[in-house]
Amino acid sequence: MSAILEVRDLSVSYGAIVALKGVSLSLAEGEIVTLIGANGAGKTTTLRAIMGLVRTAGGEVLYRGAPTRSSKTHQLVRDGLVLVPEGRIVFANLSVQENLEMGAYARRDGGVAADLDRVCALFPRLKERRRQTAGTLSGGEQQMLAIGRAMMSGPKVLLLDEPSLGLAPIVVHAIFEAIREIHRSGVPVLLVEQNANAALRHSDRAYVLETGRVALEGPSAEVAANPKVKEAYLGE
């Protein structure tokens, strides 16, 4: 399988603080890959660097075989590389409907209406609340909106940053179901999670990030069976 997204030896510094020290990972068509690790391990920074939202100090990102260095964030999104950011960041001052429209902002193809139907089918709650401002939604609904909004961008690769953060278990379940559904429709997913249990259960392969480095990688079942991972991340 050839990688649709490949990260090679990526380094990022915030001033004197080194956040990533040469991270390499890849995502192939048809995969769900998860990136787990403790707070501050560099998970969010990895995703932000892939999207061009932080400056990289070294290494490179290849999307569909081409380096992304010269592309701006919004151009990557237009090419189908889409991130659901940490903390959801729905536009609280816009209505649910307008948030979804913003997801499709850059699209010129005719698939927008069909995607809106898909989002509404996947998250009926959003359809009911489409006239409400997004700021009035609950945390779970905001996460649904953030994912729905990303679906409206017509993603060819979907990156998700902590989609389960701060949500009730039943909502977490619904969110993971939605991610599987998007994956089934043919979109490879790179999933960053603190909820290692759920992430490993729902993924093909996993990377464990520790203080800016990949400490362990492999098929999710193997990673989950690793004694160190069990102790540090799965609470067993």
Binding site: L94, G103, R107
Partner: protein, 298 residues
């Protein structure tokens, strides 16, 4: 009572001018979190562009049409000026500390003021009469045609702006950018483009205000942007900086209170009232009348 109503009309007319300028402050603050101190100077340039276009039109009968043409040209020229200011001065330092951006804005303001004295000359110029003048009497009040023009044009521009921000794709993207620059980028929105559009719109509104005030006063000079710019800034803060309806409300309140103070107390306090209000706002309601409290994220 009649005096009061008369003062109210005068105040709303002046307030509309402040509101038009305040909109530019608040929109730019919305997308960049920057107080664009050069904004008052763009308003001044608008008045001068109006002046030079009017001189070209001289010899023609004053008409509403030529007044509109003058205003339109001034708005377009200043729209471009606004885009250039952002491209050349603010964009290179956008990633630097907030203070760098603020000092840059003050620098741009000083640059435009001094360049204007060089190019336009330091002496005041008299703005030619553009539209036929008339006075209307209504319930004991005297309404000048300039006042009616100011209020009508301002209302029209504000309605158009409101429609643009609420209903168009670019307007929605502006609101998205003002909520979160990064999240907007993640929607595939070219934030640079949206920021340019914001500067163009704000500057065009300031230019309209410049022409409107020049028609009324009718004297223009290269430093005329300072008092109007400052008071419009106070208006934006009073309404809640970042809030578009707030800028309009703030502008009308500042204009009305200024006229009332001059009318009922003394013209000595003309400028004191705006800054008195600013101090009170900062103490009592720093987020402004319609502003939202920004919650700090943990």
């Amino acid at each position: 009572m009649t005096t009061f109503l008369q003062q109210l009309v005068n105040g709303l007319s002046l307030g509309s001018i402040y509101a038009l300028i305040a909109l530019g402050y608040t929109m730019v603050y919305g997308v960049l979190r920057l107080i664009n101190f050069a904004h008052g100077d763009v308003y001044m340039v608008g008045a001068y562009v109006g002046y030079y276009v009017s001189r070209r039109l001289q010899g023609r009968e004053p008409s509403i049409g030529s007044a509109l043409l003058v205003m339109l040209v001034a708005m377009v020229v200043c729209g471009i000026l606004g885009i250039l200011i952002e491209r050349l001065a603010y964009r290179p330092v956008r990633r630097e500390a907030r203070l760098t951006l603020l000092i840059t804005a003050i620098g741009v303001s000083l640059f435009i003021e001094n360049a204007a004295q060089l190019v336009f000359g330091p002496d005041p110029k008299f703005f030619p009469s553009l539209a036929p003048r008339a006075d209307f009497h209504f319930a004991g009040m005297r309404l000048t045609s300039e006042q009616i023009t100011v209020i009508a044009v301002s209302v029209l521009l504000m309605v158009l702006l409101r429609f643009f921000i609420l209903k168009t794709r670019t307007g929605k993207a502006m609101r998205a950018v003002s909520f979160s620059l990064d999240a907007a980028k993640l929607m595939g929105i070219s934030t640079d483009w949206i920021i340019s559009v914001t500067f163009a719109l704000g500057s065009a509104l300031a230019a309209a205000a410049g022409v409107l005030i020049a028609m009324q006063i009718p004297k223009i000079d290269p430093l005329m942007g300072i008092p109007y710019g400052l008071k419009a800034f106070v208006a934006a803060v009073l309404g809640g900086i970042g809030s578009v309806p707030g800028a309009v409300l703030g502008g009308l309140l500042i204009g009305t209170s200024e006229v009332m103070v001059v009318g009922y107390l003394s013209s000595t306090y003309r400028d004191a009232i705006a800054f008195g209000i600013l101090i009170l706002v900062l103490i009592l309601r720093p987020q402004g009348l319609l502003g939202r409290v920004q919650k700090e994220k943990v």
